[in-house]
């Protein structure tokens, strides 16, 4: 117990617990994971809230992320600067959303952001193509890519504007119960 208290103050831990889906123990474990990425950069004392940011290269090399085709997008979406460099808060936020406890809505919201490559708040055809290329290693022909994208939009686009809004996406996620278990990174 003693050395735990030196990393965070009790108030900090309370704040972390209230704002993430983690318990105290998990927060401390995640802090250890975070620190393991760069022990020389991350201090052992977070009570004074040091401004530490780990670069994307380190975050993306975590075993949980390094083989994920979307790792860069995940890091970008959850990092405050939008470039994948993460503070401890971002780091906790990311794994909190990807944890088992996070509800469907918030998962869907962030999944939408991850798939929205050009940040225009719609998943349009170009986003779908990028997703598809990431998921199939660009081995489909252009025709097939186009057909798949059209089919996806055709199936999920409820308001017929030719792209998927957050509402469309959420609607689709409600109908895909697996999403909760697949949009999940065990830490």
């Amino acid at each position: 117990m003693g050395n735990k208290q030196t990393i965070f103050t009790a108030e900090q831990l309370d704040a972390y617990q209230d704002c993430t889906y983690f318990t105290r123990k998990e927060i401390l474990r995640l802090f250890d994971r975070y620190r393991d990425l760069a022990p020389q950069l991350v201090p052992l004392d977070y009570t004074s809230q040091p401004d530490v940011k780990l670069p994307y290269e380190l975050i993306g090399s975590m075993p949980e992320l390094k083989d994920n085709p979307f790792r860069q997008r995940i890091a970008e979406v959850f990092s405050e600067d939008g470039e994948g460099n993460m503070t401890l808060d971002d780091f906790l936020d990311m794994f909190s959303v990807l944890s088992e406890m996070a509800p469907r809505d918030i998962k869907a919201y962030y999944a939408f952001k991850i798939y929205d490559f050009n940040n225009d708040d719609f998943i349009c055809k170009s986003d779908l193509e990028k997703t598809l290329n990431k998921l199939t290693r660009s081995e489909l022909t252009e025709d097939e890519v186009r057909m798949v994208c059209e089919k996806v939009i055709d199936e999920a686009d409820l308001d017929n504007d030719g792209r998927l809004s957050l509402e469309d996406f959420q609607h689709m996620v409600v109908r895909a119960p697996d999403f909760l278990s697949t949009f999940h990174i065990r830490i």
């Binding site: 209230d18 704002c19 318990t23 405050e80 936020d93 290693r137 119960p177 909760l180």
Partner: protein, 974 residues
């Protein structure tokens, strides 16, 4: 939601700051197209809601305006930048402060402008999207504008959160889709707000409750972390999920769940039945000639026959220790309550799983699901990722070609398919029935060899009893392989149907085997053997043990050997996949054995725990060593639901009815067990009630027993009520289904409406040439500042940015006129800036068109324009101090359309055809509406604005007025 969404457009502060920010950031911008144009439109006022009120001032009053400009801000000053600066300050500082009176310490982190709450996500996201990767100035002004707006929204949110209970509040904060910093900020805000509110009340009491609730929460969270420490196999689960994905993981999750179930049942049985007996009488009464031979571990008979392992080992006495303990009652109630608890737990998990995974699932959106929802983020193994990508590619290709294939089927082919289905179904059903029958005859044959008293069994006979479980397990191992073979010949159109067919056949096989065994035990064993419950318990023990051995062998031979064959001998077959469905069915079968045995052998769950525990590791090793991830990622969550449902429906219900039949109808053996001497096990309750009658004060229990438990009328009414409730719920469900259908239809219809309106607008645009075309002509001889043209041309493709830039140029030009005193006709600058705005938008649209369909973005703009119109209309209502607007208050959009018609009539003589663009149409809507309002305005309406300014009493309004006056001056010049 709508109120939030529109909030920004009604917020005068936002609009004004937006405009002013442009002024500040880009004062050097001028209009390259400025020329001799018509002064008819106040496009800029159309953009800013606050300006609209002043824009309504008729031209002839401008003279007096000029003289009465407050604070001398505009007219004769030559240093215009300072003027802007002043204005910025006056507008920017005051509104936020006035809004922040409640909680002045709030500061929103502007850096994370991408993260908003759900509530204002609608506006802010859209607004942010207007300025993607724009130059810093643009970003700056949107940030400021949004910040203003967010602060008010945030305060609403905070107030809402404060009103919630602590638990709800934490959940609500967690669920906000914001970055961590914002959540923390909101949280601290809420806490501060709450404590300040509390401190005004009884401080001591509030402090106490606060501390208590805080310590409770900390206690609760430390409990949950302790629970997590106890969580079994977390690391292993992560590894499996990382290598094989979620669909394989559900087998292990299921296994773990069953293990927990068994641990619970072991604790119950051991605690309430075995421990009291052992405390009372620790030594089992074993006959002297029986000794432990080792074979018992396999056969369960012999030495074990006399221990507490089986029903026969328990006494029927009332134990007199510290207190009286009635063994009969304990045995009966423990078993019965355990079964009921199991049933309730199963029903609950099944129902919640159904609700989550099955009812809402939509099989139609397959590609969308495959692409956007099926990727398993938990996979962390490179090989698995590669394989999964390949699989996904194959699946997508298949789903693309599926349609074409289905059309090719001729009648004869269909008949052939049908014949194959029929044949394989008949064959598999026959196989299952045959297996059941042969097992029955084998049992019959065997029981004839055995002596009626288990004590007389020789060691050889004991070993022979292993034959039946061996055959049963062999059947369970081999026949499913045949079923898989059948499956290869049938070509099911979808993989899911194939799996379902396989599952149904296997379930049928297992049910027929278990049913035959149960029948044999109930009808043959119960009549022949002297201590028949123990004999049945032994038979179940053997089945459990041999099944375990076969599971081990199955994973060795089934998986290891086919791995060897697949990698060494026949590479064509490939590495085997882990068959989740078959393995889960094996688990279900094993668990059913334990349930059936709970009455006959109360400690069977202990064996089961051991079995599942070992099985977990065996399966894990076998999986990692021998298998590859499944080629097709089925919908794992649905499979899980089906498995739980299967576990409940045929299997658990079967075990329960077996128990009920045994307890109610069969005569317990007379020499052993707790119920010796009774007609049936249930009559123990009757005996107990008879005893109770003598104890005063327990009449109510007797009454309940007589009038509720034993009365048919009670059950009749209960069933009736339940049936009625089911019927009502069924009707409600039907109604909801219809409602869902209707709502979905409505969404589709609205989408159609949208596209229809868009088409209509485009057609109108094509048929009616714009004023813009005329202006374009004029522009040609009026390129006065081409250098500035480049600066606007190079900006990003977003329409709104350019429109705003253009507007800013217009204002800036106005200002230049005022400061320099150059007699440039203001009409020229106004309309040229307008025109540039339109052109900019159009250009932006054209660029957009290259990438996406322009209609959608155009429509967004149209909606924005419309909202602007609405916002302005609202402002009119609010600003009655300035002018009485006689405009009717029907929807702004109607007005806009009407006004647009008028505009088109005006411009009908212009015969130039421009490439149509919806955005410019909407611009015209706004302009025309503006003019229409002006025309409608009665000349007497406006009071001198500076008089009414104090009514608004904010510097913001004054600043707006000042700027408005400046603009109107030049309109007036025309």
């Amino acid at each position: 939601m709508t109120s939030y969404r529109n909030g920004g457009f009604f917020n005068a502060a936002y609009h004004d700051s937006e405009t002013l920010e442009i002024d500040r950031s880009k004062t050097h911008h001028t209009n390259p197209y400025a020329g001799g144009e018509r002064p008819d439109e106040h496009y800029s006022t159309g953009q800013t809601g606050g300006d609209a009120a002043v824009g309504r001032v008729p031209g002839w009053r401008e003279e007096s305006w000029r003289e009465s400009i407050p604070m001398g801000l505009i007219s004769t000053h030559s240093e215009s930048p300072s003027w802007h600066h002043d204005l910025n300050h006056s507008t920017f500082q005051i509104p936020p402060d006035s809004q922040r009176d409640q909680s002045p310490h709030v500061r929103l982190s502007s850096k994370a402008s991408g993260h908003m709450t759900m509530r204002w996500r609608g506006i802010t996201m859209r607004r942010m999207s207007m300025f993607p990767n724009g130059d810093p100035a643009n970003v700056a002004f949107t940030e400021d504008a949004i910040r203003n707006e967010m602060e008010t929204e945030e305060q609403d949110l905070v107030k809402e959160l404060v009103a919630l209970s602590t638990r709800d509040r934490i959940r609500a904060i967690r669920d906000l889709p914001m970055s961590f910093d914002e959540k923390k900020h909101i949280r601290s805000h809420v806490l501060a707000f709450k404590s300040s509110k509390q401190s005004r009340q009884f401080t001591c009491f509030a402090d106490c409750t606060e501390t208590v609730s805080l310590s409770f929460r900390r206690c609760g969270s430390s409990m949950s972390s302790a629970r997590q420490t106890l969580e079994l196999w977390q690391g292993v689960m992560k590894e499996i999920g990382g290598k094989f994905g979620t669909s394989v993981l559900i087998y292990f999750v299921f296994l773990k769940w069953l293990l927990m179930f068994n641990i619970f049942s072991f604790l119950v049985n051991f605690g309430f039945i075995t421990i009291p007996l052992l405390v009372y009488d620790p030594s089992p009464n074993i006959p002297p000639n029986v000794s432990f031979s080792g074979l018992e571990i396999l056969s369960g008979a012999g030495y074990f026959h006399y221990t507490v392992m089986y029903y026969g080992g328990y006494s029927n006495e009332t134990l007199h220790g510290l207190m009286e303990y009635n063994m009969q009652l304990a045995y009966f109630f423990t078993t019965a309550v355990y079964m009921v608890l199991c049933g309730i737990a199963l029903i609950f998990s099944m129902a919640s799983s159904f609700k989550k995974n099955y009812v809402l699932a939509d099989p139609t959106s397959n590609s969308a699901w495959q692409l956007l929802c099926s990727w398993d983020f938990s996979i962390t193994n490179e090989r698995a990722v590669r394989q999964r990508k390949n699989n996904l590619r194959v699946q997508l290709k298949e789903s693309l070609s599926e349609k074409a294939q289905r059309e090719l089927l001729t009648l004869t082919e269909e008949l052939k398919h049908f014949g194959v289905y029929l044949g394989s179904w008949l064959l598999s059903t026959g196989l299952a029935i045959g297996c059941g029958a042969s097992i029955y005859y084998l049992c019959q044959y065997q029981q004839q060899l055995l002596p009626a008293d288990a004590a007389d069994w020789s060691l050889l006979q004991e070993a022979e009893t292993l034959l039946v479980p061996f055959v049963v397990s062999l059947v369970n191992l081999v026949v499913p392989l045949f079923y898989s073979l059948f499956n290869k010949f049938e070509r099911y159109s979808s993989q899911r149907r194939q799996i379902y067919a396989l599952v149904v056949r296997n379930v049928f096989l297992k049910i027929s085997i278990l049913a035959v065994l149960c029948y044999y035990w109930m009808n043959v064993v119960a009549k022949k053997f002297s201590c028949w419950e123990s004999v049945v318990g032994e038979a179940l023990y053997r089945l459990v043990i041999v099944d375990f051995l076969f599971l081990m062998l199955g994973s060795f031979f089934g998986e290891f050997l086919s791995n060897v064959i697949g990698t060494r001998l026949l590479p064509r077959l490939g590495v085997p996949e882990f068959d989740v469905a078959r393995n889960v069915l094996e688990l279900i079968y094993a668990q059913t054995l334990a349930w059936i045995g709970i009455y006959f052998s109360p400690l069977l769950p202990a064996i089961q725990i051991l079995k599942f525990f070992l099985l977990f590791y065996v399966k894990k090793v076998s999986l990692v060593q021998n298998c590859q991830p499944p080629r097709r990622s089925g919908r794992a969550a649905q499979m899980q639901t089906i498995f739980i449902a299967l576990l409940f429906f045929p299997f658990f219900v079967g075990a329960l009815s077996m128990f009920a039949y045994t307890a109610w109808s069969l005569t317990p053996s007379e020499q052993c067990g707790p119920f010796r001497g009774l007609n049936n096990a249930f009559s123990v309750v009757g005996v107990w009630i008879d005893d109770l009658e003598e104890i005063p004060g327990s009449q109510w229990a007797v009454w309940i027993y007589e009038n509720v438990i034993r009365s048919e009328i009670f059950y009749f009414f209960i069933s009736l009520i339940i049936i009625v409730i089911i019927f009502i719920f069924w009707q409600v469900t039907q109604g909801r289904k219809q409602l869902i259908g209707l709502l979905r239809q409505r969404i589709v219809n609205e989408g159609k409406d949208k596209s229809f309106l868009l088409d209509k607008l485009q057609n109108l645009q094509k048929s009616q040439p714009d004023k813009k075309s005329k202006q374009k002509n004029q522009k040609k001889h009026s390129k006065r500042r081409p250098d500035d043209h480049s600066s606007s041309g190079q900006s990003n493709s977003n329409a709104m940015v350019q429109a705003l830039l253009a507007r800013q140029q217009l204002e800036q030009e106005d200002e230049r006129c005022s400061s320099d005193g150059v007699p440039v006709p203001s009409d020229i600058s106004t309309s040229s800036a307008l025109m540039q705005a339109m052109l900019a938008r159009q250009r932006a649209d054209d660029q957009d068109e290259d990438k996406h369909s322009s209609s959608s973005s155009a429509f967004t703009q149209a909606v924005q324009a419309r909202q602007r119109a609405e916002g302005r209309e609202r402002d009119e209502h609010y600003s009655t101090g300035f002018s009485e607007s006689p405009i009717n208050t029907s929807s702004a959009f109607t007005q806009a359309m009407q006004a647009r018609q008028r505009a088109e009539e005006d411009g009908a003589d212009d015969a130039h055809d421009l490439p149509s663009s919806v955005s410019s149409v909407m611009m015209q809507v706004v302009q025309a509406r503006e003019r229409a309002e002006k025309e409608d305005r009665p000349p007497w309406a406006p009071a001198p604005p500076q008089n009414s300014a104090p009514a608004g009493s904010s510097a913001l309004i004054q600043a707006m007025l000042a700027r408005q006056q400046a603009q109107n001056e030049y309109d007036d010049g025309y």
